[in-house]
Amino acid sequence: MADARRTLTSIGVDVGTTTTHAIVSRLRVETPPGGAASPKITDREIVHRGTVRETPLLDSETIDVDRVAAFVDRELEATGVTADEIDTGAVIVTGETARRANAEPLVHRLAADSGQFVAAVAGASLEAVLAGRGSGAATRAAEAGGLVANVDVGGGTTNVAIFDGRDSARDRTGPGSDGVAVRETRCLDVGGRLVTFDDRRRVISVSPPARTLVEALELPIARGESPPADALDDLAAAMADRIVDLCAGPPFDDLTRALAIGPLPDESLEFDGVVFSGGVGRLVASPPDDPFAYGDLGGSLAAALADHAVVRSWPVLEPAEDIRATVVGAGTETTTLSGRTVSLEPSTLPLRNVPVAAVPDVSNCSDAALEGRFEAGVSRLLERHDPDEVDAVALSIDDVGPLAYDRLRAVGDALVPALESLSPSLPMVVVTRQNCAKVLGQVLRRRTDRPLLVLDELVVGDGDYLDVGEPMPGGESVPVVVKTLAFGE
């Protein structure tokens, strides 16, 4: 009986505003019975939970890359695993760290050094999702069959991911994914580290988002001074208000809008559960007696959230992971597997940071209009990226329409000419949700000699990036990381 199964060793590294951590986990890969089914990750076990360390900075704008790299090396050493033995995983820069000048080279270097197929990842929205998967909020949503919000309050940002565990939402996750659907994410420049103090409680720094609030509320808080306690409480309360507003809105307060990262939703939601995670979020359950315990506003912010009347009315659920939620998400939830039958060009693998253009609404597009759609997708790729700077480019065709040979031939006829503006040596990745990669590959190879990969049973959005690893032993299914690379949002 076919029971292709093995374990992937996965690393997760989170370089955050305040802290940096790494974990090592083992992901169990199993092929479900039934012949047609593709392998899936069925179990995730954390085998090493690294130490939480302060993120080393060279100056306020620059991360100390060498020391972060040394942290990761030390964690691997502690696990007894070498980078060669790490099969997959993700390195993510989060919060304010993602805006540092050298954030981008940092993650790429760490990803390249940490294992065979480790993805570099950045972006507040993805960060929110990974935190919620890591904290167990996604699982809670599935258990409850309802909406559960994960509110990850860190040093620099607050990232909210709302998971939809209702069965009606299941279709929105990919067929290859066993994950719980993400309804939306909401992100905000509010965190505990926005104001820092020295050991005499004098203000060392006030980050721009905090300054926005200080100015709006006309609070007597300035660098080098010891502000009155009630001013700090007012600031913490204002921050807590913004977080509550972010979760409860719309409508949204103007200050919330000013501090939001990315778009805000236009529909308000009732939650069946709320989970707090992150370095500040974990303190909400029991705020520290000394608000200055961490040398920043984190303790006060946690206390303000805990006391907030609206928060007290929420069905707050306990997290499975708190401060490590994001790193656990990065280490255990970023890698997925493609369908079992795909069409590969093995010599091109692994591919990293492949930009994706999604071609919308192909399913109900007439054969004649297909070429225009594909050309538009290719133009978008060329607008956003210099083809000489990338390993490959990808088009995501969620649904090709009916899985009939005639239709697939029409897709092939339209797609190949649409690629003519790309260099013939640039590898092309075509991704579908439906199980049709091998036949589409066969159709396309009849029409073009360019290096080509067709992967299926994956859901990939416009603007996402893909990392594609080498095939799993004994099959064709490839590990894939679908991600964002958004620095300095």
């Binding site: 039934g34 047609a36 258990e143 069959g145 040979y405 199980n435 032993p473």
Partner: protein, 262 residues
């Protein structure tokens, strides 16, 4: 829900309050939606509800019809398949005598020799097996992909045939007679109540009568809700090419990577 719902020992939870009913409905809906099994069907006294009873009979009826109906003749003509028949006389005998479904009737043997190309790289066979519905639903798409894909690789498919009342191992007899390098037999699977449309593809390298099952390869669960027929066609192209290259099928083909399957 699982964490905080009332245990049923608790008399309060048997109450008819709307909230409890809503939660029960939601919990029941979740159970019913996520399973392929017939759960939450309800009852009338100790018997199933009439609707559930009739639904089961309807599904069984479809499955029975798939076993007992014949493949549409015009489909066989459209696909340009040479029509053959095994030694089986009718469906009843087909079910009771698997041995007769593995050998061609005398006149079909003559047709095979007269009309089919000798010694093809791969002999393609379509057999009705236990589901004519599966053949009708999947073979047209699958066969088109398979023929084109094999042609791309200059693999000679000879003269594809259709076998009425065919079993899996009829490919041994046909392949032996034609001295084909390998055979692909597309066979309608025994219908289940979920689908009567499932097709399997069996493959053998160096076909001869009496070859054990272990020497054969299979791709199963081919239907719209499983492995789509177009994708199965493309997978078969790769598998046939691999069989011809390595001159093997079944465990001879896959045994070397068994370490992976433990």
């Amino acid at each position: 829900m699982a964490s905080d719902s009332n245990r049923t020992h608790d008399a309060d939870s048997t109450g008819k309050s709307g909230q409890v009913d809503d939660r029960r409905d939601e919990a029941l809906r979740r159970i019913v939606d996520r399973t392929p099994t017939r759960l939450g069907v309800g009852r009338a006294g100790p018997r199933p509800t009439t609707a559930s009873l009739l639904e089961l009979r309807a599904d069984h009826g479809l499955a029975r019809d798939a076993v007992h109906s014949r493949v549409d003749e015009t489909l066989v003509d459209d696909l340009e398949l040479v029509k053959l028949r095994t030694q089986v006389a009718d469906t009843d005998q087909y079910l009771a005598r698997p041995d007769l479904g593995r050998e061609l009737a005398d006149e079909s043997l003559e047709t095979l020799r007269a009309e089919c190309a000798h010694a093809p790289d791969v002999q393609i066979i379509v057999s009705d097996g236990l589901s004519s519905t599966a053949v009708e639903a999947n073979v047209p798409e699958l066969l088109a992909v398979l023929r084109d894909g094999l042609a791309d690789r200059d693999i000679d498919v000879g003269t594809p045939v259709f076998v009425e009342y065919g079993r899996v191992d009829v490919m041994d007899a046909i392949g032996e007679e034609l001295e084909a390098d390998c055979c692909v037999n597309l066979v309608g699977e025994r219908p289940g109540l979920r689908t009567a449309e499932s097709l399997s593809a069996y493959l053998v390298y160096g076909p001869e009568r009496g070859l054990p099952t272990a020497k054969k390869s299979v791709i199963s669960n081919i239907h719209d809700g499983g492995l789509p027929p177009v994708e199965a066609g493309a997978e078969l192209v790769d598998l046939v090419a691999e069989m011809l290259e390595r001159e093997a099928s079944g465990i001879d083909l896959r045994d070397d990577d068994r370490e992976f399957t433990t």
